[in-house]
Structure formats: structure tokens, C-alpha cells
């Protein structure tokens, strides 16, 4: 796939999108095609990851967009909505539908919907090697005949078949491939309803107004798709269409004894099933006995949890081990080279106070981001990619599901929560694995309360050191109780319908180094772009305030809260304010402000309160940045506010409790 005529001016451009289920090797394909030429971001206004890249092939400059993994084109999740809107509105030149040869029937369900959307399609029959090993052989030529679109067998992780795939893409883009116009028909009575509805739709709106093909709209209306209902309702004459749709849907429901969305889904699966059977040959029973034996261990009532605990501890040790090494290295680099160099450079031209602001603010911020957060993010992202690619993640969700239910969430939510113990930033980003907005918000709210490594430093350095190990442990236990309480409260208070766990259980696969490297790099790049500038700006801002002598007035203004409500010495306000910026600074600042020994200004009870408040109140600037990216400004501010309020209210109550018990 190397450059051909890269320098030529007359280069033809193509827009290609990759669609398909999760776990079909779509990312592997995307990585093979675009390599490091990819950027990862978000769809504007949505918490759905958007990955794009470019490649050059036979004189074409091909922009590839990796659509999120989806099972259907319903309104069930943001991912599906994003995908279908993109296909209908942006109209890419070709859609490559990546299907897993081992799960043909379910994958074809999506293919049929893509064809309903009249997308220019090339089917990529991936993982044929894996299927062959399981005794499944697919006749791709027959499938191509039946579907009326090119079907190219590939093994994406090795790159096999990719050239043929790109040839097919270009053939479709150039119009050299004939396509059936209405590829498949449902059962007679369903088809009649669709046609009647489609005719009515065509009377009131052209495809330009609608963006979507009339037949697709008809099918979706019969499926009672809320988004399409809204779209049609806004058209002139839309009410009549909706009424007709309702009548027809009811007719189907009475005839089939099931809700119309299920009737249509059933019909579609019936077609998918026929297609799959027609082109599949089984050379042996396709039962995954090895899988099931492995799962008997990983999901075992005792061994499974033991294994998970070991993995978690191992991961934690790895992340902090490697993180510490990198952090130490970065710190040395900064102290030995960067700071002296910069001060030397700027000293002659700036007054002392400005130099201070630059060194502590700008460099301090850079240091904080690069030497404190990043070293831990690197091994963390590598481990996440490993978990994703190996297929172990769903097993984790399985084990944790019953416990998560007590928190008002389901199994998948365990992953962002456990990430939070390392750093809240990737934990917030991890919230996107939840399917609905409601669940993402609940997890987001809960995750910012999880004590990240910086907060652990405070708990260890203050409470464990001066009050003992048991009080420190108690703090963690209180925290866990708080997580459960917050989760349940959010579950009851947030609008929307809770959804339980419905997840695909993918087979185990061998993770590929290239894929892990690419995923990790893309995620690090994205963190650096968003969080780092904010950390630096925040740092600069606070240093500026300090230089202008505004810190102490602010701290004294807060004294009624720190002393009056929380029973802490007023000086404690200083590290708490800075803690908003970088939690790791809290301990060193407390030491500073106490003149060398925190015990001089605080008793153990007060340290407990101080650590408690630090553990819960607003996450650091980097976390807020991640929250903004994942949830938007409004929700991010709301979540931050809730954490501050919780910290203050509970902190004050705790203070009074300790006073009552005589422990203050």
C-alpha cells in the first residue's frame, strides 16, 4: 500500500468508512491500512470515539474513517446513531463492512441494514483463518452472488487479502461494480406494509429533505425507531405518515404476536440465517470447547475472582513500577537540564517575579503533566489495549456484574472504576464503554470519587503516617461505601431506563504488538492534546495569583469553611486550594505551610478530615479536562460541583462526629 504518485498534483480522493460489529478485527484492519497516520478524537458533541487515517493506493488518496463497532442501526446507542447519520449524510464513497467469518449470521444482520440504507458496499470477510481452524468455510464467491456486492476474504492482522480489498473498494468507487437496487425482501405481509409506507413517504418528502432512502425510513418507522419518528414528525405531512406507520405496525403486531421492532428484526435474521446457511460449510462441530474450558477458570466462582485479583494487583504493580521509573527519569531531566536552561535563558530579560511564574507555573505545569501523569498513563494504556485485544475484558465484566449491580451499574462499569485507582483521567475516558448516556453519567459521577494515586499519596503520607495504618484503611472503606451510595443515588435520581448487561462474549485472541502500540500512541496523543495545556494553564494561573499576592486573601476568605465548618487550621486552606490543580502537591504544600511538620498544626483527627476532603473533592484539572471531553462543559461542571459539595458536607459531618467521639 505504498505511495504511488504521491507527489502528483492530480490525485483522486476517496472517502471510505469501516463498519462492522465489535470484535471482528475492524481495528486491526484500520491499523493495517492507516498505520501511524491516524488521529483519534471524538465525534463532535458526542462521547463516541472517532478514528481517521489516510493511505495512498494506486493513485488514490484514501481517507479511512473507522466507525464505532455496532450490531445494528437502531437508536439504541450513540454509536449506532452516529454511524447511520454519517453514512446517510456524509455519503462516503465506499463502506467496507467488516464481518467475522466465524459469526456470519449475526454479522449479516448488520450487512442487511447497511444495504437497506443503500450504502455503496464492499464486504470484508475477515478472520477466515480463525474460522477455518474452527471448521467453518465460507464460499465468498457465492456470498457475493447472493448479496450483489464484492466479498473479499481477508486476515487483517497479517495483511492477507488487503490489496484485493482495496481493489474492490476502488472498483465500487469507480462504478465498475453493478449492484442490486433492492437486494432483499422480507416476508410478503411485512413487505406490503413497507411498500405502502414508503409510497406515502415519497409523496411528502424527497430524499434530499429526508437524507435517508424512503424504504429505510419506512422500515425504521415500522420498527418504532424514536429518532426516525422525530425526523418524520418534523416534516410537513409527517403526522399522516406517522399515523399510517402506527396502523401498519399494529397490524404486524397482531399478525405476529410480537412488538413490531422484534417482528422486523426476526425477519431480517431469517434472511441472514438463510444466507449464512447457503454459503457455509462445516467440516466439524463448531463448538468452542477450548474456550469454554478456559472460561470455566476465568469465570469460576473462586478461581475466577482470585485470578482477577492477581491480575489487578499485577497490573497495579506494573503501572506504578514502570510509571515510577519513567517519572523519576523525567524529574531528573527537568531538574538537571530544563529548569536551569530556561532560567538561564530568561533571567537577563525578566524580573525575578516573572521568572518565578514561568519556572514554577509553566515549567511546573509541564512537569506535572509529563512527569507525573503521563508516566503512569503509558503502562496503563498498554495494559488496557492488551485487555481489549486478548478478550479478557468481557470476562472481567462477567465477574464484576453482580457487585456492580449493587452500585446501580453493570459489569462493564468495573473497568473505569478500577482505572480510577490509578488515575481519574483514563477512568473518565473509560466511561464511554457504557452504552447509554445515563450509565456513562452514573459512572462519571462515581469515578471522580475514586482515590487516584495522588490521593493515595495524601492518605498514606498523612493519615497512615501520623494516625496509623487502620485509620488509613478505614478511609478507603468509607470511600467504597460512598461509591456504592453515590451509584445507587444516581441510579434512582437520573432520568432514563436502566439497562442490564447484554454483551458479546468474544473468543480469546492473541494480542498483536502492532495493534497495542498504535492504540496506545493514539490515546496518549489525545491526552497530551487535551489535558496537558489545561494543566499548564492552571499551573500558570495559580503561580500568577501567588505572585500578585492574591493567594493568602483567598485562603483567609475560605477560613470560615476550613476552620469553622471543617475544624481544620486555616492554613490548611492553602494546600486544599492548590490541590484543585495538582493533588500530588497537597502534601508538600502542607509541609511547607506547617513549617516542616504537619503534626505541628494538625492533630491526627484533623489529618483524617483533611485527607477525607482531599480524597473526595473536585478532581484535578486534568480530570476536569477529561470530563469536559467526555461529557461536555455542563455535565463536567455538575459532576465537579457534586464532588465538592459532597466533600464539604460529609467532611463537616465527619468533623462533628470525630468531635463527639473525642477523637479530635
Amino acid at each position: 500500500m505504498e505511495a504511488e504518485g504521491r507527489g502528483s498534483k492530480r490525485k483522486k480522493a476517496l472517502q471510505v468508512a469501516l463498519a462492522g460489529n465489535a470484535n471482528v478485527g475492524k481495528s486491526a484492519l484500520f491499523n493495517q491500512l492507516t498505520g501511524l497516520n491516524q488521529t483519534v478524537g471524538n465525534w463532535p458533541g458526542k462521547t463516541v470515539e472517532r478514528a481517521e487515517g489516510t493511505l495512498y493506493f494506486k493513485g488514490y488518496r484514501i481517507r479511512v474513517l473507522d466507525l464505532p463497532g455496532i450490531y445494528s442501526l437502531s437508536a439504541y446507542s450513540q454509536e449506532e446513531l452516529v454511524a447511520r447519520e454519517y453514512i446517510a449524510v456524509e455519503r462516503p464513497d465506499v463502506i467496507v463492512d467488516v464481518i467475522d467469518a466465524s459469526a456470519l449470521e449475526r454479522n449479516l444482520y448488520l450487512t442487511l441494514q447497511l444495504m437497506e440504507l443503500e450504502a455503496p458496499l464492499v464486504v470484508c470477510l475477515n478472520q477466515v483463518d480463525f474460522a477455518a481452524r474452527r471448521g467453518i468455510r465460507i464460499d465468498h464467491k457465492a456470498l457475493s452472488e447472493l448479496l450483489g456486492v464484492p466479498v473479499v476474504p481477508t486476515v487483517a492482522i497479517t495483511g492477507k487479502g488487503l490489496e484485493e480489498l482495496l481493489e474492490a473498494v476502488i472498483a465500487v468507487a469507480e462504478g465498475r461494480e453493478a449492484r442490486k437496487s433492492v437486494p432483499f425482501e422480507f416476508k410478503e405481509d411485512v413487505e406490503r406494509c413497507i411498500r405502502e409506507l414508503a409510497e406515502e413517504i415519497k409523496k411528502h418528502a424527497s430524499q434530499e429533505n429526508l437524507k435517508y432512502p424512503a424504504r429505510w425510513v419506512a422500515i425504521k418507522l415500522l420498527e418504532r425507531d424514536p429518532e426516525v419518528e422525530r425526523l418524520v414528525g418534523s416534516l410537513s405531512g409527517g403526522k399522516a405518515i406517522l399515523e399510517l406507520a402506527e396502523r401498519l405496525a399494529r397490524r404486524l403486531e397482531e399478525a405476529h404476536g410480537a412488538p413490531s421492532p422484534v417482528v422486523i428484526a426476526s425477519e431480517r435474521y431469517a434472511i441472514a440465517s438463510l444466507l449464512a446457511k447457503a454459503v457455509s460449510r462445516f467440516t466439524r462441530e463448531p463448538r468452542l470447547t477450548l474456550e469454554e474450558k478456559l472460561d470455566a477458570i476465568t469465570c469460576h466462582r473462586i478461581a475466577g475472582y482470585a485470578l482477577l485479583a492477581i491480575m489487578a494487583l499485577g497490573a497495579y504493580a506494573l503501572i506504578f513500577g514502570i510509571g515510577n521509573i519513567i517519572a523519576g527519569f523525567m524529574e531528573e531531566l527537568f531538574d538537571a537540564y530544563v529548569v536551569p536552561y530556561v532560567s538561564l535563558l530568561l533571567a537577563p530579560s525578566l524580573p525575578a517575579w516573572a521568572l518565578n511564574v514561568i519556572c514554577n507555573g509553566l515549567l511546573g505545569g509541564l512537569f506535572g503533566g509529563l512527569a507525573i501523569v503521563l508516566p503512569y498513563l503509558l503502562p496503563l494504556y498498554v495494559l488496557i489495549a492488551l485487555l481489549e485485544d486478548s478478550g479478557y475484558l468481557p470476562r472481567v465484566a462477567c465477574l464484576m456484574d453482580p457487585i456492580m449491580h449493587k452500585m446501580g451499574l453493570h459489569g462493564k462499569a468495573f473497568i473505569p472504576l478500577i482505572l480510577g485507582y490509578g488515575c481519574n483521567v483514563p477512568a473518565c475516558v473509560g466511561c464511554r464503554i457504557m452504552e447509554t448516556d445515563r450509565e456513562r453519567t452514573i459512572v462519571g459521577l462515581t469515578v471522580v470519587l475514586v482515590p487516584c494515586s495522588a490521593r493515595t499519596v495524601i492518605i498514606m503520607g498523612l493519615v497512615a503516617r501520623y494516625a496509623g495504618l487502620w485509620p488509613a484503611l478505614l478511609l478507603y472503606l468509607i470511600n467504597i461505601a460512598l461509591l456504592f451510595a453515590t451509584g445507587r443515588a444516581a441510579y434512582k435520581l437520573l432520568p432514563g431506563e436502566p439497562v442490564g448487561l447484554i454483551m458479546e462474549m468474544p473468543p480469546y485472541r492473541r494480542p498483536m504488538l502492532k495493534s497495542i502500540a498504535i492504540k496506545t500512541w493514539a490515546r496518549l496523543k489525545s491526552f497530551i492534546a487535551i489535558a496537558l495545556p489545561l494543566i499548564v494553564l492552571g499551573s500558570l494561573f495559580l503561580e500568577l495569583l501567588d505572585a500578585l499576592g492574591l493567594i493568602w486573601p483567598v485562603v483567609s476568605a475560605l477560613a470560615p469553611i476550613t476552620s469553622g465548618w471543617l475544624f481544620l487550621p486555616p492554613e490548611a486552606g492553602f494546600p486544599l486550594v492548590f490541590g484543585f490543580l495538582r493533588k500530588e502537591l497537597v502534601i508538600t504544600l502542607l509541609v511547607d505551610v506547617a513549617g516542616g511538620d504537619p503534626a505541628a498544626i494538625m492533630g491526627p483527627g484533623q489529618m483524617f478530615i483533611f485527607s477525607f476532603v482531599s480524597m473526595i473533592y473536585v478532581p484535578c484539572v486534568a480530570t476536569i479536562a477529561a470530563l469536559v471531553r467526555e461529557f461536555g462543559w455542563k455535565k463536567a461542571m455538575l459532576i465537579s460541583l457534586v464532588s465538592v459539595i459532597l466533600a464539604l458536607v460529609l467532611g463537616g459531618l465527619l468533623a462533628r462526629l470525630l468531635l463527639l467521639l473525642g477523637w479530635l
Binding site: Y76, S273, D401, P402, G500, I502, M505
Partner: protein, 101 residues
């Protein structure tokens, strides 16, 4: 919105009387007869292949009232216990091995 679909062999408007997926033992097979859930869940289950007349096989039931793993249409799904208890099924009884002679 806010539909509560109640359908299947037990008839509309009645509670989930009858065997559900959560009642089956590991290794057993059954035919899906109905689903008692709101739009989101019913839709999602249908999209993943759980539609009336589909054969499901219970692969394993996890501890602590954990999720149930099923095989449906050649692939495996993990369903939360609550979700599984919303899927009405009719167990398939396979005849045992014939006695010798």
C-alpha cells in the same frame, strides 16, 4: 415512549409467567417465546439475535447471581441475570440415549 412489551405465548398484558432463560440449567437448550421488557432492552436483545423461535443454549451460569452466558446463532452472549429473567423460553428436551438391546 415507555412501552412495556408483554408478549409471547402467555399472552399480552400478563406477567412473566413461565420459564425464563434464568431458570435454565447449564447445558440446556430452549426456544425463545417472548420478552418482557421496555423498548431498549427488547430491541437490543432482538438485534443480538434473541427473537421468537430462536434456539438458545445455556453455556454457563455465573456465581453470585452473575450473568448467564448463552450461545445463540453461532455466537456467545453474556446476559445479566435480570435481563435473562425477562426472556421467556420453552425448554427443548432432548431424548436420552436408548437403552441397550
Amino acid at each position: 415512549m415507555g412501552y412495556r412489551w408483554r408478549w409471547g405465548r402467555r399472552g399480552l398484558g400478563q406477567g412473566p409467567g413461565g420459564t425464563t432463560l434464568a431458570d435454565l440449567g447449564p447445558g440446556s437448550e430452549a426456544v425463545v417465546r417472548g420478552v418482557v421488557a421496555g423498548y431498549n432492552v427488547a430491541r437490543r436483545l432482538a438485534d443480538m439475535g434473541i427473537t421468537p423461535g430462536t434456539v438458545v443454549r445455556v453455556v454457563r451460569k455465573n456465581a453470585l447471581m452473575g450473568p448467564i452466558e448463552v450461545e445463540v446463532r453461532g455466537t456467545r452472549l453474556l446476559l445479566g441475570r435480570g435481563i435473562a429473567s425477562k426472556v421467556l423460553v420453552e425448554p427443548i428436551v432432548r431424548p436420552g440415549p436408548l437403552p441397550p438391546g
